[in-house]
Subunit: 202 residues, 2 copies
Amino acid sequence: MPRQVDHDLRRRQIAQAVWRLATRGGLEHVTLRQVATEAEVSARLLQYYFGTRDRLLLGALEILNADAEQRAGQRLAELGEAPGMRALVRGVLWELLPLDEERRTRHLVYAAYFIPFVTDPALASAARDSPRALEDLVSGLLDQGRQSGEVPPEVDTEAESAFLVAGAIGLQTSVLLGQHSPEQAVELIEHRLDGVFAPSLG
Amino acid sequence: MPRQVDHDLRRRQIAQAVWRLATRGGLEHVTLRQVATEAEVSARLLQYYFGTRDRLLLGALEILNADAEQRAGQRLAELGEAPGMRALVRGVLWELLPLDEERRTRHLVYAAYFIPFVTDPALASAARDSPRALEDLVSGLLDQGRQSGEVPPEVDTEAESAFLVAGAIGLQTSVLLGQHSPEQAVELIEHRLDGVFAPSLG
DNA sequence: CTCTTTATGGTTCGATCGAACCATAACACG
DNA sequence: CGTGTTATGGTTCGATCGAACCATAAAGAG
């Protein structure tokens, strides 16, 4: 063989080029030649590592998803040993906000893939399952919080978790469009968490 | 002249073809030839009515916005003479949900334009102003509701209106992705309106 | 020291893109 | 009854696209 090379690293290097191009001009600017130039490799390598363009787009998305999951778990672990339900829910919701360059890029890439998510059956499943799992996760955390007394018993955990996640996603797009600052988004989520974790306020 | 023709009608006919193609394959599938075929006109007409492709995309978006505003006003007017603040807020939020084919198409088109909204300065302004105005509108309605007693005085109308709009937008994407049914989205919004319009529940 | 496999660069092909250009039929107006 | 403007169809051009193909250097296996 030639100089042995880390395939996963190469694939990641190429995937990152896809992300950058997608965030700049949408999928329509993600052409093989552009990606090759952006990743500083020959166009031939894209074929070698991903084959066709469709599989390149799919592969870049899978790497993005893996990254997202890993980084999210990492950040949640950094909350300490017994974080409390409110901190955990906040941590989960913050993953949905573009609070740093990494998450901003990630959510912009998802936005670029949105139409394929809706129309392409191959991608639809991934898009359908992931945020639904998030909602169940938050719902489970709220249930735990109710048992530990952090959440008052009259709270509808199903509805509240669903609306919390929906609100976070709405704030995500709002921040990406420049309508709200990241700080405003955090503040609004905190205000809603006040409503869920303390019964007296609406 | 040749047979006098309604220019606005023609432009609308072409714009609708753009919308359909954008919802199916994203902006990357909105090519001049595809649009011409879809609209059943010659490619030459696209140049005649819109000029370049960029201006076609911009024009199609402007027509979509005009339609949205008109239909929204129409539906809100159908609420009757003195609808009450809750009904008005609900009506505004429902405009953000894909509750019928028209609104589903509209929001899918916006999704297809999302990356340009973020990156292209020409489109950024339109995207930045519109939902912000919505938020102010809801906020104003909540203020009126507080004066009329429909909304309890301790409610933070700024924060609640912002999170209501964010939640509706999050539910919009959720419904488009097939994670929630339109009925579920309506129900979740109703649950949150319960919290804003009645002080006892969180 | 071959030989085969692996990783990579470069080139080419048919299709399609956006845009400019050429032609002309339809009709109002003088 | 021209005649010039308006609306439309068709064609063409250079660029670029995705993908297949050809070539070869590097390195482990025998």
